[in-house]
């Protein structure tokens, strides 16, 4: 029910069956685009879009604006709240830096 992964449409692979090649983290898979295409947003225009993939189907086109707003809200929340002392954890000696 839940495992959906964001991926970028890199190529159209099968116009007739509405299939596109998507990629995330260097892994690619062909997915069905029927749920995210229509007359206003045809398959051919989807290259470069980010979609949410579930069981081999693109189920939603990811709204970059909404993602950005969400992250901005999180940043604003951070500025409002004061850090609790318990949360100021000393970085451990084994934490990788700058990865």
């Amino acid at each position: 029910m839940c495992l959906g992964i964001p991926a970028c449409v890199v190529a159209i692979s099968d116009e007739e069956n509405c299939l596109a090649l998507v990629e995330t983290g260097g892994v690619r898979r062909e997915v069905n685009m029927l749920c995210v295409t229509d007359d206003t947003r045809p398959l051919s225009s989807c290259v470069g879009d980010w979609v949410l993939v579930h069981v081999g189907f693109a189920m939603s086109r990811i709204d970059a604006e909404a993602a950005h707003r969400s992250l901005e809200l999180l940043a604003a929340l951070g500025e409002m709240a004061s850090e609790l002392p318990a949360m100021d954890r000393e970085p451990g000696p084994y934490e990788a830096s700058g990865e």
């Binding site: 995330t24 892994v27 579930h54 949360m87 990788a96």
Partner: protein, 352 residues
């Protein structure tokens, strides 16, 4: 014309192994010489015997204990990105010796071949085994060949046994982890498991992930040179890092605590795990080990590992603490904590 030629198919089909090749007669003799002896090394001057004869004098220096191990390899497909069943069969057994502190010397090689396997496949596997053996500086000195009817085996099964010498004073055991010890691995996790999970193409994922299959005896040698008192050492095969961590914690009666941010995983391996709902901590590796090292020696061991080709991406991932005994704890990047439990059975890709 040799007997083999007499039985060769007269049409253009590939030459294949038949039951006759396993029957002990002339065909089998031809096969052994053509595929194995020719590849693994010349037969002794007097000819092949039923056993390899190894000079004990060679064993009297270099160690005070003989290490002996065996393992069988049934991987499907036979050839996958980065390695094949032959390379696995050599490196896996070499590594089982190496993580006991032994210097591997000799391997045996037993093959169970399904009728119908192309001879060319067998030749390719043998060549790969020879290459891996040379890289590990071990010799394949004896072997066995059986052919079974179609369906009685899945293409090819290989068993390798190996012997090596453990130098005096080297005592490595799973029960030796102590609070304060440092946990070190030699590189990225999950490459082999990720390469295999879709090697048959059923999940239709495209990627460039390759198995990390490699011999670790050279790396272990430099580690022991930097610190003769390495407490625990094991290679991270099936069940991944999580399994070995749990084995050490249980056998030593301590807690192994690892830092999530310190665990190295390659980007495509991570992506594959996200897509399939897998956890890299449980993915198989074929060229990675976990060392439990006294804190005072950890810097020296880490430096020695990073200077070796098989350990360039080595890093410290955690430490041994007292409690909770027998458990493995992961410190999450959020400042939370969770258990790293033993898996029951293999991980399966999921959609939920």
């Amino acid at each position: 014309m040799s007997i083999a030629d007499a039985f060769a198919p007269t049409d253009d089909r590939e030459r294949c192994i038949t039951l006759a090749h396993g029957s002990g007669g002339a065909l089998m003799h031809e096969l052994i010489h053509e595929v194995f002896v020719g590849t693994f090394g010349a037969a002794p001057p007097g000819g092949l015997e039923d056993q390899a004869r190894l000079d004990l004098g060679g064993f009297s220096t270099g160690g005070d204990r003989l290490a002996l191990t065996t393992d069988s390899y049934v991987v499907d497909p036979l050839f996958f990105p980065g390695a094949d069943i032959g390379k696995l069969a050599v490196c896996g057994t070499v590594n089982d010796l190496a993580v006991g502190g032994a210097q591997p010397r000799y391997l045996s090689c037993g093959m169970i071949i399904e009728e119908g396997l192309p001879v060319a496949v067998l030749q390719r596997v043998a060549a790969s085994m020879k290459q891996a053996a040379d890289a590990a500086e071990v010799a394949i000195v004896t072997g066995d060949t059986k052919v079974v009817p179609r369906g009685a085996a899945d293409k090819l099964f290989i068993n390798t046994a190996g012997v090596g010498l453990i130098p005096a004073g080297i005592e490595i055991a799973a029960a030796q982890a102590r609070p304060g010890d440092v946990l070190i691995i030699n590189g990225h996790l999950g490459d082999h498991g990720a390469a295999i999970v879709d090697a048959r193409g059923e999940l239709a994922l495209e990627h460039h992930i390759e198995s990390d299959c490699q011999a670790l005896n050279g790396l272990v040698a430099v580690m022991l040179a930097a610190c003769a008192d390495i407490h625990c050492l094991r290679d991270l095969t099936r069940g991944g890092l999580a399994t070995v961590l749990n084995e050490f914690a249980r056998d030593s009666g301590v807690c192994l605590r690892i830092e999530e941010t310190a665990i190295p995983v390659r980007d495509p391996v991570r992506a594959l795990c996200e897509i399939l709902g897998l956890d890299p901590l449980y993915l198989a590796n074929e060229g990675k080990l976990l060392a439990v090292v006294p804190a005072t020696a950890s810097a020296a061991v880490l430096a020695a590992m990073q200077a070796h080709p098989a350990g360039q991406d080595s890093r410290i991932i955690g430490e041994v603490v007292e409690r909770p005994a027998g458990r493995v704890i992961l410190a999450t990047a959020f400042g939370g904590e969770r258990l790293v439990d033993m898996l029951v059975g293999e991980q399966l890709p999921r959609i939920c």
